[in-house]
């Protein structure tokens, strides 16, 4: 899989979550995603960005336009150096939340994306990568 272009944005404030939504929208539009696909991607990004800010204590989003077998996609990597997730399976369950949320962030983002992977260990931070193909 080749990376055509990429960029990294910080996630350290409330406003950054809004910026993340706008950036992801812009990039999704530039690849030619349908409106529904754009919305799914932006919504997933919003969930994950919030997780990064609140649970990860801040981190980054790296956007990348990826190419695989002449298909183009948008890959988003949310990374933080926060406390990490002790039980990933539990975290992926609908409704599970350690905060005040609805517990849909991680599981919802997975449902909204075509590719989803998560690496996290207590003390080693968290890294979530999602992608959608055109």
């Amino acid at each position: 899989m080749d990376v055509e272009r990429h960029d990294t944005v910080p996630i350290s404030t409330d406003d950054d979550i809004v910026r993340v939504r706008q950036r992801v929208r812009d990039w999704a539009v530039s690849i030619g995603f349908s409106l529904v696909d754009q919305t799914k991607l932006v919504t997933a990004a919003s969930e994950l960005a919030r997780n990064t800010l609140i649970y990860g204590r801040g981190g980054t989003l790296t956007l990348a336009v990826v190419v695989n077998n002449r298909k183009r996609g948008l890959q988003l990597t949310f990374a933080d150096q926060g406390p990490g997730i002790p039980d990933i399976d539990l975290a992926l369950k609908d409704g599970y939340t350690t905060g005040n949320g609805l517990g849909l962030g991680l599981s919802g983002a997975r449902r909204l994306s075509q590719d989803f992977s998560i690496t996290s260990k207590p003390g080693e931070g968290t890294r979530v990568v999602i992608a959608r193909w055109n």
Binding site: L35, S46, G108
Partner: protein, 128 residues
């Protein structure tokens, strides 16, 4: 800090969310609305989200909270103008917005607020 304007329409309150809100702004709206329902003794709250291109679980929870608090204060909440792409995404996300009534537009929303029963078929539906 900017605030989302809340208008009074008869004995109802009308909020039109036109910006991509950051989380703090959403919480402020929640607080402002609750305060205003009490202050004006409003019987209905109409939230117009026709300008929103994205509704994530945070905004979803905000809407559900507003509806719950309004109910406690004896007011009906109706969310109107949800875009198809948003609706499709919310279904995929698994967000049911239970307890939140919805209608296609402001006009139908007002009909729903004024109707006597819990669900007015002419106006709209309860989201569950």
């Amino acid at each position: 800090m900017e605030r989302i304007p809340i208008l009074k329409m008869g004995d109802s309150l009308l909020v039109s969310i036109q910006v991509d809100m950051h989380d703090r702004l959403a919480m402020t709206l929640q607080d402002d609305l609750t305060a205003k329902i009490v202050a004006t003794r409003a019987k209905g709250v109409l939230i117009d989200i026709s300008s929103l291109e994205v509704v994530d679980s945070f905004i979803g929870r905000m809407l559900a909270n507003i509806a719950a608090m309004a109910r406690v204060l004896d007011a009906k909440t109706v969310v109107v103008g949800m875009r198809p792409a948003v609706a499709i995404t919310l279904v995929e996300l698994g967000l049911s917005l239970s307890g939140v009534r919805t209608a296609l537009n402001v006009e139908k929303g007002m009909l729903l607020i004024r109707s006597d029963g819990d669900e007015g078929d002419e106006g709209g539906r309860r989201a569950t």
